[in-house]
Symmetry: D4
Subunit: 152 residues, 8 copies
Amino acid sequence: MADVLIVLGSKSDSEYAEITSEILGEFGVSYDMEISSAHRRPEKTRRLSISAEKSGYKIIIAMAGYSAALPGLIASHTLLPVIGVPLPASDLKGIDSALSILQMPGGVPVCAMGIGNTGAKNAALLAVRILSLNDEMIKERLSAYQRKLAKD
Amino acid sequence: MADVLIVLGSKSDSEYAEITSEILGEFGVSYDMEISSAHRRPEKTRRLSISAEKSGYKIIIAMAGYSAALPGLIASHTLLPVIGVPLPASDLKGIDSALSILQMPGGVPVCAMGIGNTGAKNAALLAVRILSLNDEMIKERLSAYQRKLAKD
Amino acid sequence: MADVLIVLGSKSDSEYAEITSEILGEFGVSYDMEISSAHRRPEKTRRLSISAEKSGYKIIIAMAGYSAALPGLIASHTLLPVIGVPLPASDLKGIDSALSILQMPGGVPVCAMGIGNTGAKNAALLAVRILSLNDEMIKERLSAYQRKLAKD
Amino acid sequence: MADVLIVLGSKSDSEYAEITSEILGEFGVSYDMEISSAHRRPEKTRRLSISAEKSGYKIIIAMAGYSAALPGLIASHTLLPVIGVPLPASDLKGIDSALSILQMPGGVPVCAMGIGNTGAKNAALLAVRILSLNDEMIKERLSAYQRKLAKD
Amino acid sequence: MADVLIVLGSKSDSEYAEITSEILGEFGVSYDMEISSAHRRPEKTRRLSISAEKSGYKIIIAMAGYSAALPGLIASHTLLPVIGVPLPASDLKGIDSALSILQMPGGVPVCAMGIGNTGAKNAALLAVRILSLNDEMIKERLSAYQRKLAKD
Amino acid sequence: MADVLIVLGSKSDSEYAEITSEILGEFGVSYDMEISSAHRRPEKTRRLSISAEKSGYKIIIAMAGYSAALPGLIASHTLLPVIGVPLPASDLKGIDSALSILQMPGGVPVCAMGIGNTGAKNAALLAVRILSLNDEMIKERLSAYQRKLAKD
Amino acid sequence: MADVLIVLGSKSDSEYAEITSEILGEFGVSYDMEISSAHRRPEKTRRLSISAEKSGYKIIIAMAGYSAALPGLIASHTLLPVIGVPLPASDLKGIDSALSILQMPGGVPVCAMGIGNTGAKNAALLAVRILSLNDEMIKERLSAYQRKLAKD
Amino acid sequence: MADVLIVLGSKSDSEYAEITSEILGEFGVSYDMEISSAHRRPEKTRRLSISAEKSGYKIIIAMAGYSAALPGLIASHTLLPVIGVPLPASDLKGIDSALSILQMPGGVPVCAMGIGNTGAKNAALLAVRILSLNDEMIKERLSAYQRKLAKD
């Protein structure tokens, strides 16, 4: 039973999911990874979203390029916090995805991160911050991480 | 059994749906109208999309502001042609919605129209063009409309 | 007598037309391809547009970069549905073409697709959806395609 | 036989054409004004463009909002210099029109002016500069105008 | 001891904080509100950030216009999750603030919400989702809210 | 005594000036070329501008990247028509230069062309159109060029 | 003999210059104000720039809308530090002016401030900071201002 | 005791700091360089900012990519003039950093330079202009530099 579910819109963007999962791993946060496009696999995405809470996940990180509907679609089917990472897959270099994730209508929140690499990294760190609210071990690792960050 | 299903993401944007429906009415094209947000009412949106073809609809026109996921979500659940109209509801005046609708990933097509009033009008006219492929009456009205357009 | 006419604004962008034609071919949809710039060959473009319906075409797909006037110009000379694909040919990477195609004035509809590769692909798929409204064979292939999409 | 032909894409934008014509009038430059949409009245636009030179016009000023295809369409049918003025008619406040006019593909030149009021004014002044190349009277008025400009 | 700390960059933007606090109130989530500019009151902002966790806050919501450094500055001084809301205070209507909040460098995560009203609302709802991970009462209210959302 | 003066803001952008001069050459239009930055060599630019008309030039083509002040500066010192070509020299790929050239304030007109290669080409063609107003030879070459364009 | 010269591109933007001059006045910094457009009054602008240092000015603040060439033009004629304030005068709301001022080519520096009101205010404050480097009185007032800022 | 403090947000951007320091060196201006991220090392950044004046620095140049909070954060902790250089580190090529630095709220001024190389160069030249206000030697070198600039 993992804490974080990473959903990637397209296999071709897996380099970004690896950044996220590596950071989660450093903090000892368990995660599962799924590839499920909002548009090409809506039913799978819906099932993943609806069952996420029962499956024991606490946070969902969704990454997608183009008109990145994935994080919003997931957020509409779950009550878990959803973190969205816009990817620079199209000719517009991710500003399309960023606006798609950022400009959610009122009522269904999605947490937007930066475009690409840094967003993928920070998505993991935000998940860690949320999980640390109720996990002293993670909180300590986070403190250590922050101190290390300041030193490097 | 209407030919066109208009789906509006929010009741507050109904002025745009009226532009569309008025044009459809001028051409004698039957339509139904539903209000169903992609994010606030995903299940209703899904049901509408899945059942649209069986309900006899031939074309779906979906209108939404902000990160307008509605047209894409509908297109992922139906094989009917979906026309998306971005609305200038947010502070970004519709460029957010336009990119969300335009930049669909490969595999699930959505037909993007212009932002706001003109998009609402042209969505109806595009639906009419599609329907006229198999309806001589509509085709004639379309010819008349185009001639009138050139005169005014 | 083909069903779809693909018009490409410049020979240098033929890679995109190939994406479109390959998908049409997969669905057994017949097509012709023409190269005709809106600005450099306005008369040819006009003749193609005016005669398209009589030539038996049902849908026109027009692809162009820069200030992509091609789809709009064609749409003004025919009553057939016109699908426009903006191409990332200029230094602005297609946002110029996308706005040119998207922001059609009221009265003459053009259906805008995404920029570049995905738009080229989805243009074909949208044409297939429209044609499937009156062609059971295509409808079946479309269902199969969608199922395959969900599996891959 | 006027020297300048002003073509306005839509009657609703006539305030801009008035700015232009007023300036032309101040310089004693003769002009005619036509309303002719590139998309709604392509044949009229084409006829105007093709016959412009024979009608004695030396310069064409074309003003349009949205995906402003008008200046480019005219330029493709005439060898006269064409000046395009993007108008802030849509929700995007003219950046759509500006890119449509500015980003002409190679081979068919259009001279883009600023968006709205200033573009309308400068279009007239540019026409005056061009006409002054072969008209001493206009040249003198231009010198006087520039001196007055510096004083106000 | 409140659960959420709302920090507003400028008193003139308090309308947005009221949207947020009203939603939090509906869910019975306790909150405090502070006005503290990142640039005009850096020491106060720093103190608030450093002491936030000890003060018992679990989540910080920071709202600011212009080059909205507030959420990032706070996030750099605390390990709590920080939610940032860009406000449309400048002539650029919030795209400046949105990019400032969204494009955080790797290492210090900030969760970006939409611009203005909807972002203010969704910031509260995201906080509620996070708090509901360990609070059954809030979880139930969230379920009820989502059901009500779907009905309205 | 040449007809066209090409002014290039920086030697590093000479590839664009070559495109322009090659086209002018094809039409038998004489030209001179100068390198003179608006900001680094304001006095030279001013002298060139002030003396251009006396030197017999009829048209000035000015090309520059970044905040391309060159065309506007020249236009403020001469009554000749000035054509400005924005170059994609900066990280913003020419949108900075394009807006700088396009958005001239009322009173001093500059004719903006597209960004980079196509703008460089079209600047020459526009100059040719202007010169053809009083030169039958050039007019004939222009007709031939246009016919050839349509054939290729 | 004043310390700061404020140059405003157009009388219609004097509301912004008043913001600047009021702040300078609060700090007891002397200033003169001139209206001089880069494009409409290039000679006056040049004279002001060339003579500024001899006139005893230490800093020049230049404010302009549209393609705001004023700060750059001044900076090219003086060795004094030049502060540029982009104004939201055009339909593009100052993003045109901001890029024109910001993206100066290498060699001639201009210091860009924010668009409109806040830029006008901060231009004065930056001038004060520069002058305080060699004026203890101003330095003290600046300290007091900053403390007051933090209190309000 | 150096005159200029260069603060770089990330070691990976040191190529830009080298451009700046090389120019400062040409003018005989002393400088120190520090790497200190606004977000990853807020305390170091704060200490550097607070102590900068006492350490004898007269000007601070801060360079950062992404949501470049560094220059603003420094400016909020010092009364020295702060020059900010946006870097093209993210997928958005520096427009994110440029807006973050440019759009400072009223009260705390930051002087924004162009994106990347040219900004790095001009930051040094602006610092030199400011220092030359009270240093005849630097003033002379600046005159020589400007003359050389005009010759090259």
